[in-house]
Amino acid sequence: MKNKESYTEIPLTSSTKPVISIKGLFKSFGKTNTVLKGINLTLKQGENLVMLGKSGSGKSIIIKCIVRLIESDEGEITVFNENITSANNSLLNAIRLRMGFLFQNSALYDSMSVRENLAFPLKRHNKNLTENDIETAIIQELESVGLSEAIDKMPSELSGGMRKRIGLARTLILKPEIILYDEPTTGLDTITSLEISELIVAIQKKNKTSSIIITHDMACAKLTGDRLVIIKDGIIYAEGTYEELENSKDEWVNSFFK
């Protein structure tokens, strides 16, 4: 179970061609702090991939490299068969539009109301939508995260859990085919965490999305993950289904499931 070759294939209903594939990804900060030391990873069509690992192990860095918020030092990342690392600006933006990114701290636009937060990306990328279409889309997306009453609030008036869900609605409104979730349930109570985890599964089913979910929340991992990977020392240390990893003989892997 220690390396990539030995993981078992998960039977999936849809086809299993990779939508993201990462080969030999390296990233260091400064001369001494090498965070990623050769990550190999694929995300298959329609799959929810959960990424585990200790705090500071470089999980956020990996998904930021996928959308090229951070330039990698070495390695190849392909998304929808396009090479992200060498893409020019317009190609990069075209690919980014097909991906959604949920930030660890939601990253809502402070100066805009919830409505404007959702309208902002939508208006810019769909020039021929009428005001009515936009309003309908906003209401529909807010309903799907269960927060339609917050439409006129400012981000500063929302709780952490509400911000997470608004952030998710803002991501979903562009109908992404891939969603990258950075700790969607961290800092939330058990009930809200469960609601968000269920929402993630519902989105996968309904929109046929493929996702990478970074989490420390094992309940969320169990519920949402078709496949799990664990990052340690800059590489993928273990890979498998929840049950496989839970019953792993490796003590370190096991400690995640305690």
């Binding site: 959308v67 933006n93 991906m99 402070d110 902002f120 990328h125 562009l174």
Partner: protein, 261 residues
């Protein structure tokens, strides 16, 4: 040994200054490239004009009035000594328009606007709002930076004209403390003493003041490091650098005016 250490630390400091100046220049260069490429963020530009221009009016009005008043009261005895008291309105208007109103207004804007932009963009950077725009394929430089630089470039000159006017009115109040001049007579004296070359060069330099206030505030905010303390640092260094740039521009402007007018 001590000398060597000093030279080392000096060279490090110089390196940072040159690096920072170089990066800031590239950052500003991007403005001229992106300003001509659609989409144009008209709505955000208008909002920034309102926030930067309209919201600064009270502050600029108060300081403008006091500048005119104080200048009049302090110049009066000197002119009276030469028996040239009738020259007072012209003197005050000239000093205000040529030097005092542009520089003081620009410094106030550096304190209010550059620090505001630095803190706002800095906190957007730190809370990943700028990254969020980037990943949703929106150009954050165009939306946040181009609109702000354009707004300060256009609003600071208008604020200076406003400060000129209020300052001259303050001068009128100052004159009437000691003597009795009608508003009409005062203004005709002011206008008599003003020439084309008193107005145009200072007007041109205010556009540069505005540009650098917006550009430096944006640069410091946009390039803020991670962590909340860097937001304070961005606001702080924005004020210092913008104020410094105002004096440097002023110095260059005086030399050029001397040469050409």
């Amino acid at each position: 040994m001590i000398l060597k250490n000093n030279i080392d630390s000096l060279s490090v400091t110089l390196k940072t200054i040159f690096n920072d100046t170089g990066n800031a220049t590239l950052f500003m260069g991007r403005f001229f490239k992106e300003i001509f490429m659609p989409p144009f963020e008209i709505k955000e530009f208008k909002r920034q004009c309102f926030l930067i221009g309209y919201k600064s009016l009270p502050l600029v009005a108060i300081t403008g009035f006091i500048m005119g008043l104080v200048l009049t009261l302090q110049t009066r005895p000197t002119l009276a000594g030469f028996g040239a008291e009738s020259r007072l309105p012209g003197m005050v208007a000239l000093s205000l328009i040529r030097e005092i109103a542009p520089v003081i207004t620009a410094l106030i804007c550096a304190g209010k606007i550059a620090s505001g932009i630095g803190a706002e963009l800095g906190s957007m950077k730190v809370t990943e709002q700028i990254d969020a725009m980037e990943v949703s394929a929106i150009n954050p430089y165009k939306y946040l930076v181009v609109t702000r630089i354009l707004a300060t470039t256009l609003m600071v000159p208008l604020l200076v004209v406003f400060a000129d006017t209020i300052g001259i009115l303050g001068g009128y109040v100052g004159i009437n403390i000691h003597s009795d001049v009608t508003l009409f007579r005062y203004f005709s004296q002011v206008l008599e003493s003003l020439d084309f070359i008193d107005i145009i060069p200072p007007a041109i330099k205010t556009f540069f003041f505005g540009f650098f206030i917006g550009a430096i505030g944006s640069y410091k905010g946009y390039t803020a490091a991670n962590g909340t303390e860097s937001v304070g640092k961005a606001a702080n260094t924005a004020v210092v650098a913008a104020s410094l740039s105002i004096f440097i521009i002023d110095m260059i402007a005086v030399q050029l005016t001397d040469l050409f007018f």
